[in-house]
């Protein structure tokens, strides 16, 4: 028990368009059976980090529902556990979390009351597998004050939504450019940090007195010459899902055998809340090619190059291509869906056509009264 964990899960994202109006980014469904935060939670539990705080703020209903029991990630323990920290008001204080550092500062007692020497801070919207102990080992080896986990992103990624990291030869961070318009290096900040608990408390208290609220701007960038801040390169798969395009691409990445092998074929596993759906059912006329199908799906039509989440129904003669179908979606007979993301609980009438393009993925929110719309607006997923 070398570290306590913090998962930053309070963010929404305008770039997720309609998808984020219903839930925090960390609660976005991923790869048929998971939510984004399952990856950080599973990494924590698989790294034997037993005491984990999750910071929530933006539209947290789905997230809280998902974490209504901590036993799925093995956090239901006497030693440690899963703690959800939402902003709270007192007689002297009534602010929302004004930034990532402020969110941690407002829960400073969590750090004071821990005894573990290190803190692992992770964001809830990253899709990756990582043994945080390896980062802690690296951190110790480099005698670092802060270690930032970095990943090299491909040319398909929009670099302007990341923090680009420049390092010296030994890995020490010399420069961190937040959201550059363009950049020659593709090495970006994954939003995963290791820091000694005592130092974190000191830095957070310093930030608070100066009314600074952001981990990246007010700690990493500000202290880059003053503290020893190192980059740990994460070589395996990493993806941040907080735009519609990235979300679509990340889900479809799971159709690649090497990505499935990494996440599904190799231990340790990613855990999620168990929902007890029956096995997926393929009726006469079903034709499924290169797709992920989750439990509870009933398929009568044609599905190709797509990811179907739990309890999706595909009607007779319906065609689903290159699409992400979220949970509990009904697709009527002879309806065509191409290059779309269908929001969960959607009801698509028969004989309709929903077509986006590979450049412009269409997000479809179509409730048709099967679930009341005002319940949707209020954030009940």
């Amino acid at each position: 028990m070398k570290a306590v964990g913090i998962i930053l899960a309070g963010g929404g994202s305008k770039k997720m368009r309609e998808l984020s109006s219903l839930r925090a980014v960390s609660a976005m469904p991923i790869a048929g059976s998971y939510r984004a935060i399952d990856f950080a939670l599973s990494n924590m539990t698989n790294s034997h980090i037993q005491r984990v705080g999750v910071l929530t703020q933006f539209n947290s209903v789905s997230l809280n529902e998902h974490m209504n029991s901590s036993k799925w990630w093995d956090f239901g323990r006497k030693q440690g556990g899963l703690f959800v920290f939402s902003p709270t008001i007192t007689f002297t204080h009534s602010d929302w979390y004004r930034g990532t550092a402020d969110a941690l500062y407002q829960n400073l007692n969590f750090f004071y009351r821990s005894h573990e020497p290190y803190v692992v801070i992770a964001s809830g919207d990253g899709i990756y597998k990582l043994d945080y102990n390896k980062v802690i080992e690296y951190h110790i080896e480099k005698k670092a004050d802060i270690t930032v986990v970095c990943s090299r992103v491909g040319p398909e990624e929009d670099i302007s939504r990341f923090g680009v990291v420049h390092t010296a030869e030994d890995g020490r961070i010399t420069e961190l450019e937040e959201k550059p318009v363009e950049s020659e290096t593709r090495n970006v900040n994954c939003g995963i940090y290791v820091i000694r608990r005592r130092l974190l408390i000191e830095l957070l208290e310093g930030c608070a007195t100066e009314e600074r609220y952001d981990i990246v701007r007010d700690i990493i960038i500000r202290y880059r010459n003053h503290k020893r801040i190192y980059a740990y390169n994460l070589e395996s798969y990493w993806s941040n899902i907080s735009t519609v395009e990235a979300y679509y691409r990340t889900n479809r990445d799971f159709l690649k055998p090497e990505v499935r092998k990494h996440f599904f074929g190799e231990l340790p596993e990613i855990y999620s809340k168990v929902e007890d759906n029956p096995p997926a059912k393929y009726n006469p006329g079903a034709c499924v090619k290169n797709s992920l199908i989750s439990s509870g799906c009933i398929i009568n039509g044609h599905v190709e190059n797509s990811v179907l989440f739990k309890d999706a129904y595909v009607g007779n003669g319906a065609v689903v291509k290159n699409s992400i179908i979220l949970g509990d979606v009904y697709i009527g007979d002879n309806t065509t869906v191409e290059n779309c993301i269908i929001e969960s609980r959607g009801t698509l009438e028969g004989g309709k056509s929903y077509v986006g393009s590979p450049e412009e993925i269409k997000v479809v929110v179509e409730m048709m009264g099967r679930y009341p719309l005002n319940a949707q607006k209020e954030g009940h997923k």
Binding site: A31, F264, V274, P279, Y282, P284, K289, N290, S291, I293
Partner: protein, 424 residues
């Protein structure tokens, strides 16, 4: 201990010998069913869905898989501070030790467990039936009749009634006569092996009958209650109920799940069947795959063709393989180019490439024609079958086999090849 109005005692110690190699190393209640379930999930889920939160599970034959599956009852919400699920194996006491010698004897040996909850009623269940039943309605019926014993019964075709324990009622539900597997049944109401006893009567009867060898509910306890003039009622159940005691009925019950609207519907929102979920990831269906009229469990990777089949979790079906009318349980691999016809493949089996199983001429099984029938080929768990082997109908294979075990690369119809069984 907090008093419980009704507790359940679930008999899960039987071997189920007519399932042949499927139950060589697991008790029948732990045999896989319907892709992702095990048979015992049905009564356990019925319990929690009916509000029965205290369940004693009596185990005896090969309990390892069963114990690992049930654990502390998390999947069924039976991890409770008061009650919950308790595994009850036979135990040693000051006077010696006894195996469970019959259904009622097993319950008798756990009298203390039952009494610790001071129940008013005890529900007796068996762990080898596929059905959904609201035991609360059964209890309401029991109370409304002021009954001492209520037996769940279901109408069966009269020509089949002689296979069952049959009850004769007075028209108002009260049972006047029992017939155990009668040649000429007087009624078509068959006992389902599900009983509610008023606790006082049950404890009295079990204590009175404690020295009866092989003490059994159908043969001893119910007749005891009848002889003592107790009020015994029949509760008629008209839903789906299947005893999966033979390979044929086991296969049929699985196949019924793949109908477009199955008689036994797992897709209903409000009576979920829970199971220990070891895999949560979705299944992957490859570009060359073709699946119709089938159900598939989580995490399976399908590259071949699957028709009319029930496939479990984490099954791999390689390119060019074809699976027809078969059951493939979790973790098994069907090699490229292999064809399965009406085959039951138990868990974690590896079938090589270009095999053909379940085809060829009809021949009765050489060793046990009563068990291995209905043209089924049955492959026991953790079996290995090498490449290019042909296996006929009414056959059984179990264990790590090599090409040398097959004459001319073939196990003809009716063949029996069992190499497993040693403790490893």
């Amino acid at each position: 201990m907090i008093k419980k109005e009704m507790i359940a005692m679930l008999l899960a110690g039987g071997q189920g010998s007519r399932l042949g190699v499927l139950t060589q190393k697991v008790a029948k209640p732990a045999v896989s069913f319907g892709g992702k379930y095990r048979i015992i999930d049905f009564p356990l889920s019925n319990c929690i869905n009916s509000g029965v939160d205290t369940v004693g599970v009596l185990t005896q034959y090969q309990p390892l898989r069963l114990n690992a599956h049930i654990g502390i009852g998390i999947p069924w919400d039976l991890d409770r501070n008061n009650g919950g699920v308790t595994i009850l194996p036979p135990y040693e006491n000051i006077g010696g030790s006894d195996w469970y010698s019959g259904t009622a004897n097993a319950i008798y040996q756990n009298l203390e467990y039952m009494k610790s909850f001071s129940p008013d009623y005890v529900l007796i269940l068996s762990g080898d039936h596929i059905y959904k039943m609201d035991y609360e309605m059964l209890l309401d019926y029991h109370k409304a009749n002021n009954a001492d014993v209520t037996i769940a019964v279901m109408p069966v075709p009269i020509e089949e009634a002689s296979r069952f324990g049959v009850v004769v009622t007075d028209g108002k539900g009260r049972i006047t006569e029992f017939q155990e597997k009668p040649p000429e049944p007087k009624s078509n109401l068959a006992s389902m092996g599900i009983y509610i006893f008023s606790a006082d009567l049950l404890f009295e009867a079990l204590t009175e009958l404690k020295d009866v060898p092989g003490c059994d509910f159908g043969k001893h306890v119910i007749p005891y209650a009848h002889e003592h003039g107790k009020r015994i009622f029949a509760y008629e159940f008209n839903g789906y109920w299947k005893d999966v005691g033979t390979l044929q009925s086991y296969w049929e019950a699985n196949m019924e799940l793949i109908d477009i609207v199955p008689e036994f519907n797992l897709y209903e929102e409000f009576w979920k069947i829970y199971t220990k979920t070891e895999t949560i990831r979705p299944q992957y269906v490859g570009a060359g795959a073709h699946i119709e009229r089938s159900i598939l469990g989580e995490g399976s990777e399908i590259e071949g063709k699957v028709f009319n089949s029930v496939i479990g979790d984490c099954v791999t079906i390689e390119p060019g393989a074809e699976v027809y009318d078969s059951i493939v349980m979790k973790g098994s691999v069907v090699g490229a180019g292999t064809r399965l016809y009406k085959t039951i493949v138990a868990e974690n089996t590896r079938i090589g490439k270009n095999c053909e199983i379940g085809a060829g001429e009809y021949r009765d099984n050489a060793v046990d024609p009563r068990v291995y029938a209905a043209e089924l080929a049955v492959i026991g768990e953790e079996t290995v079958i090498p490449d290019g082997i042909r296996i006929g109908k009414n056959t059984a294979v179990w264990g790590v086999t090599t090409a040398a075990d097959y004459e001319n690369g073939e196990l003809p119809g009716g063949g029996y090849l069992v190499k497993g069984g040693e403790k490893s």
